[in-house]
């Protein structure tokens, strides 16, 4: 019972944090440098790992499906399978998981340390709302960067798959056939659905990581505890939300 009330109060707190951040939306233009800094941290610095990982995920997907689809003589559809899986599922989920590990944890650590060392209190006494300065630019940046990262992940995954199909002897589907299959059976909707997912994940992760960071209490030890909590909570939320968002997108 106590746990349940705690969970609801955290959900309420997170929503309230968002509401408070949004009331300062008009200050966003003059916080442009902060927004750009966050875009750089979220997007640009994640780029190498997103490219490499999605390339390999696309490759593995092609390998696995090449092996299993051989049995049905359906090798010519590998492109469709890799294309759809990357765009609808693995691209957004993988980018979200990387966001938690690279950005979310850092955000929580930074905000938790600001809280513990009273920097947040200092902002409050200076009548600078922490939501305005610390949360709003991050939320805006993550909303802008997530679709970009997801598109890059899709492209790398597709090309990784194509490369494997062409140069693996037991598969040997040339990239032309691969991309024809990919294009023929994929609708623009498949891509936009994936981007919507990425957007939802990014937004929720950033909000949750900010909330947990800003609600750190106690000494320096709690910074580590908060980071753990933020990472675990975000990962759970990604997988749970994945189900509901997918369902909503597919059957609406």
């Amino acid at each position: 019972m106590n746990h349940l009330t705690a969970i609801f109060s955290h959900i309420g707190g997170t929503v309230l944090l968002f509401a408070r951040a949004v009331t300062h939306i008009r200050t966003l233009p003059r916080q442009f440098p902060r927004f750009i800094e966050q875009c750089y941290l979220i997007g640009y610095t994640s780029l190498p790992i997103v490219t490499i990982l999605s390339f390999f995920i696309g490759s593995v997907l092609a390998l696995q499906s090449g092996y299993s689809m051989e049995n049905f003589g359906a090798k010519q559809f590998i492109g469709t399978l890799v294309g759809l899986t990357m765009a609808r599922e693995l691209g957004p989920v993988m980018v979200a998981i990387l966001l938690v590990g690279r950005v979310g944890s850092a955000v929580t650590a930074e905000l938790a340390s600001m809280k513990v060392y009273q920097e947040v209190d200092a902002l409050v006494t200076m009548n600078i709302p922490p939501e305005r300065m610390l949360v709003l630019p991050r939320l805006a940046a993550v909303l802008v960067m997530m679709p970009v990262l997801a598109i890059i992940a899709n492209l790398c995954g597709w090309y990784g798959g194509a490369l494997i199909c062409q140069y693996t002897h037991s598969i040997s589907v040339d990239s032309e056939a691969y991309f024809t299959a990919l294009k023929t059976y994929m609708k623009p909707r498949d891509i936009t659905d994936g981007l919507i997912k990425a957007e939802v994940f990014g937004f929720v992760i950033m909000l949750v990581c900010c909330y947990i960071g800003l609600n750190t209490r106690g000494g320096p030890r709690e910074i580590g505890a908060s980071v753990t909590k933020a990472v675990v909570t975000s990962l759970i939320l990604i997988l749970v939300l994945d189900y509901f968002v997918t369902k909503a997108l597919l059957y609406s």
Partner: protein
């Protein structure tokens, strides 16, 4: 070049502080027990007392960072616990540990307030910031980061950051701890001069007897969460209360040391 010290023209007014029957518990631990105080506008009011007696917590209530368990704190006619009060009153709190923004240089720490509140253009901000840095002889540290500063320098930056705000109520939490004797004296002069020029109400939590006796209009002693005594400094030159006397002039007795007495009490 060290700018001659002149405070920026004081806009608006200053505020008195009223603390009425303030109680604060953290969980079940009572920290403040029935504190009542009246600080008059323009006063330098020192709060003294042993470590852990609740002085910082009291200051946080005045700054609106803690909500009373019962009782109330008013700044002028405004409720300190109400966030809207901060739109009415420019209040600066010099934190005990500085609370500098670690990701910003010293210059940007000071410039943050005028920038966020769009008080003036970058040139004006530069003047204000350099002036505040000059007062605390910190010009050379302008482009350093807080992590590169000593404890005493951090404290001075925190004070400079408060001055840039041109506050209408100034709260200092142990401003001279961690400072060398000369810097402590300088700071004592700064607190007094600032009050003289801007009439700003200044609450100073301190262990520094020299500071308190030199510049305080009144002193309050907080012990174990209660007010033990309030009065003009000269009333405490020879305090009647033995607890306050012992706090102000502890005798170092090597023949019968305090910690031995404590041990005996535990047995």
């Amino acid at each position: 070049m060290s700018a001659p010290y002149t405070a920026a023209p004081f806009v608006g007014k200053t505020f008195g502080v009223t603390v009425a029957r303030l109680h604060k518990r953290f969980g079940t631990t009572p920290v403040l027990k029935d504190i009542s105080l009246e600080v008059k506008p323009g006063e330098i009011f020192c709060i003294m007392g042993p470590s852990g007696s609740g002085k910082s917590v009291l200051l946080k209530h005045i700054a609106g960072l803690e909500i009373p368990t019962s009782g109330e704190v008013r700044i002028g006619e405004f409720d300190a616990a109400d966030p809207a009060t901060r739109d009415q009153i420019r209040l600066a709190l010099v934190f005990q540990a500085g609370a500098l923004f670690n990701s910003l240089s010293v210059y940007d720490n000071l410039a943050l307030y005028p920038r966020e509140h769009r008080l003036c253009g970058e040139a004006g901000i530069r003047d204000r910031v350099m002036h505040a840095l000059a007062i605390l002889s910190l010009e050379k540290a302008a482009h350093k980061f807080p992590s590169d500063l000593s404890g005493g320098m951090k404290k001075r930056v925190a004070i400079a950051r408060a001055l840039v705000m041109e506050p209408q109520l100034l709260l200092y939490d142990e401003p001279t701890s961690e400072l060398d004797p000369v810097m402590s004296a300088t700071l004592t002069e700064i607190i007094a001069t600032l009050r003289e020029q801007t009439a700003v109400t200044s609450l100073v939590v301190t262990h520094d007897r020299d500071l308190a006796f030199a510049i305080a209009d009144r002193v309050a002693f907080v012990m174990e969460g209660r007010i033990r005594g309030v009065g003009r400094p000269d009333e405490f030159k020879k305090p009647a209360d033995p607890v306050i006397a012992n706090f102000l002039n502890p005798v170092i007795d090597l023949k019968n040391p305090r910690f031995k007495q404590l041990e005996n009490n535990h047995e």
